[in-house]
């Protein structure tokens, strides 16, 4: 029997653990933001203290150096389009793999695991040659296709594992009602999969938003380049303007935070009791 004081001790313990967890996690972000307001000299002599004044100039410098004006939108377009395609195609594929018993189902599922195992740098030269042969080098497609291709495995992987755990008879009543395959997917399976969809949207958005090496070699036109390339401009041959880089990284974090915060509630939105006719 749980007594009141026992419960109190337990809750205190939980909060102590959570607060420690929060401190360790918040520290690097706070550090980055605080240092983004320091001058170069201040940062050189004091890396841990508070800034003497808020040196907003870093943000203006960062905006220009990283070419935010253009690169930001390029990143948004490429990331968002790739995420939409990944999730749409991925969810559809996951649905058929998870909910239908056909001969190739397991094989195809395992086939997607391959994509998880390849170090990205190994595909750099082949990818470049492939894009060049297809004639889509220096176009947004040359980033969107690889982003979709390399995010599909984890998307399908997570969605299949999620969809498989639905009770088997979910679709049966719908079929009795005469619903088509695609309608079952759209009206029943997809809504139930929302927490997992939110997860894969967040993950693939982060991957696309931060992706660097493909963007480095596949896009040459400054009008189409993405933000991670711009964020490298702070590094010179031997000197790096760290404070401006922190300002740039802080700004680059905003879209990811927005995506996360928008989807966060989906992550914990449990199924309403009625959704499952167990």
């Amino acid at each position: 029997m749980e007594t009141y004081s026992n419960r109190k001790i337990k809750m205190t313990l939980i909060y102590v653990v959570l607060i420690l967890f929060a401190i360790v996690n918040a520290y690097p972000i706070l550090w980055m933001i605080l240092n983004s307001f320091k001058t170069t000299k201040e940062y050189a002599v004091d890396k841990l203290g508070l800034p003497h004044s808020l040196h907003f100039q870093n943000y203006i410098d960062a905006w220009h150096t990283a070419n935010f004006g253009e690169y930001f939108w390029n990143s948004i377009v490429v990331s968002v389009v790739a995420v939409i395609i990944t999730v749409l195609f991925g969810a559809l594929a996951a649905y058929f793999i998870a909910r239908f018993d056909f001969k190739m189902s397991k094989t195809i599922y395992n086939f997607f695991i391959f994509g998880l195992l390849v170090p990205i740098h190994a595909t750099l030269v082949p990818m470049f040659i492939l894009m060049s042969k297809l004639g889509i080098l220096n176009t947004r497609l040359s980033l969107i296709f690889p982003y979709v291709a390399f995010n599909l495995p984890i998307t399908i992987f997570l969605l299949v594992s999620f969809m498989r755990s639905f009770p088997k008879d979910i679709e049966e009543s719908a079929i009795m009602d005469g619903a088509g395959i695609l309608r079952i997917f759209w009206a029943i399976i997809l809504p139930m999969t929302r927490p997992a969809i939110a997860t894969v949207v967040i993950l693939s958005f982060i991957n696309n938003w931060n992706e660097f090496v493909f963007a480095l070699v596949l896009i040459n036109n400054p009008k189409l380049q993405t933000l991670p390339l711009g964020l490298q401009n702070f590094a010179g041959d031997h000197v790096t303007n760290y404070v401006a880089q922190f300002a740039g990284l802080t700004m680059a974090l905003v879209p990811i935070l927005i995506v996360y915060l928008l989807l966060e509630k989906e992550l914990v939105k449990g199924m309403t009791a009625g959704a499952v006719k167990g």
């Binding site: 050189a44 395609i85 497609l141 695609l182 309608r183 036109n221 009008k223 390339l229 000197v239 790096t240």
Partner: protein, 430 residues
């Protein structure tokens, strides 16, 4: 419900259409000379980071474009680490730009041997010995042919020291012999001051800065080419002794404790903060030191001390030409002419004068302006005695990596100088 079905398919369709629509707005940029005789050339460089020299390079390109209406140079900048990855990937796909930045020695050689670059001897014959130092020019030559011209020289070994700190232990000027240098280190240690600041996390500093210079002092400048030609060995006593100097300094605890976990930049910050008395780095650090030091900090610049019985010339400083621009071997006709014209314009006396004013050490015969900062003036004077080879500028990449890692091992104690020399020699033999 039928509506919903349609919606799903149309969403799919929309996605596909969207992709193709978006891709349409990024077509390939046109190549080569157009009908009206105008030429567009692409130039890849690693002029990232807003520093005085990169600003000058970009200005120079802009001036060229303004004064040459029939030629347009389009630049593309990537930071030097990633630039190399990009260049190598593009080279593997046989798609190099018209003009591109290259690094000397072992980095240049495979590009030339693969037939990707055209020689520019017609240009350099005029400059050789007149404007530009012949010796530095050689850094960008392969098999007797010239492939690029350096804008500046990276001297990889300059000793920066805190004048007040060494005065405190009885030194009015920096020691000129190694044994005296060791005495200084001991005295600094006795005062509780960290003698030398070094940031060797990126692995090249100990090799490029220290070993290049120390080994040259001991073995002389003709040793390294001899080893690669098979006429001398890394296991010869001279080179082993040079490695042992590193070990000795480490055993004396001359370096900061976090030597293997900070980089050159952070080491400079620590030195500026007064955490240590000496910072040995390259000419690239002069501008940073001037930016970061406080007014009442007096930093002197000296050469690496001489080694007793060493065969090297103690007035030499290890250095290598930098920021060479080469041209693609597939250029011909109007494009090639335009590219050569650009290079000729770029590497002019004006540029070298501006660079020197901005605090860069250059391979050209240009006078030092009067209002130069004393720190830079001392650095300039330190490098007047000629250049010694830089190890990673000469060694094949594989050997450089072995040396880099081995030196970290010497610091942590998992490697001995003798063993490292043996490993390097066995790689030469292969």
């Amino acid at each position: 419900m039928v509506f919903k079905m349609k919606k799903s398919w149309s969403l799919l369709l929309l996605g596909v259409v969207l992709v193709f629509a978006l891709s349409a707005c990024g077509s390939n940029d046109s190549n080569g000379a157009s009908k009206d005789g105008k030429v567009t050339l692409t130039l890849w460089n690693a002029w990232s980071g807003d520093t005085s020299d990169t600003r000058l390079y970009n200005e120079r390109v802009k001036k060229f474009n303004d004064s040459h209406p029939d030629i347009t140079i389009k630049t593309e900048t990537t930071d030097s680490d990633n630039y190399r990855t990009k260049l190598k990937t593009r080279a593997a796909g046989k798609q190099l730009p018209d003009i591109f930045q290259v690094w000397p020695g072992s980095e240049l050689e495979p590009i030339v041997k693969g037939g990707a670059m055209a020689p520019i001897d017609s240009l350099t014959d005029d400059l050789k010995g007149k404007l530009i130092n012949e010796n530095t020019l050689k850094d960008f030559a392969v098999d007797g042919k010239q492939y690029a011209i350096p804008t500046s020289v990276s001297y990889t070994n300059l000793v920066f020291y805190d004048k007040d700190m060494i005065k405190k232990v009885g030194y009015d000027q920096f020691p000129t012999t190694y044994s005296d240098f060791k005495t200084l280190i001991k005295k600094l240690k006795a005062e509780g001051i960290t003698p030398i600041e070094l940031g060797n996390k990126p692995q090249w500093p100990l090799q490029s800065i220290y070993v290049s210079m120390i080994a040259d002092r001991i073995t002389g400048s003709d040793y390294l080419p001899k080893v690669l030609a098979g006429k001398a060995k890394f296991t010869d006593p001279g080179f082993v002794k040079a490695l042992n100097v590193v070990k000795e300094l480490n055993d004396m605890q001359a370096f900061n404790k976090d030597v293997n976990t900070i980089n050159d930049d952070q080491a400079m910050d620590n030195f500026v903060q007064g955490k240590s008395a000496i910072f040995i780095s390259g000419s690239w650090s002069t501008t940073g030191l001037l930016d970061k030091k406080s007014k009442d900090k007096h930093i002197g610049t000296a050469r690496m001390p001489a080694f007793e019985g060493g065969k090297g010339d103690p007035t030499k400083v290890s250095g290598v030409g930098a920021v060479g621009l080469g041209i693609n071997s597939n250029l011909s006709g109007a494009k090639k002419k335009a590219a050569l014209e650009f290079l000729k314009y770029f590497y002019s006396k004006d540029l070298y004068e501006d660079l020197l004013k901005a605090g860069l050490l250059i391979p050209a015969k240009v006078d030092l302006p009067k209002d130069t900062d004393p720190l830079f003036k001392e650095a300039y004077q330190a490098t007047e005695g000629g250049t010694a080879p830089v190890y990673d500028g000469v060694l094949p990449a594989e050997l450089t990596q072995t040396l880099n890692n081995g030196l970290q091992g010497i610091l942590t104690g998992s490697m001995t100088p003798e063993k490292l020399a043996k490993e390097m020699q066995s790689q030469v033999n292969q």
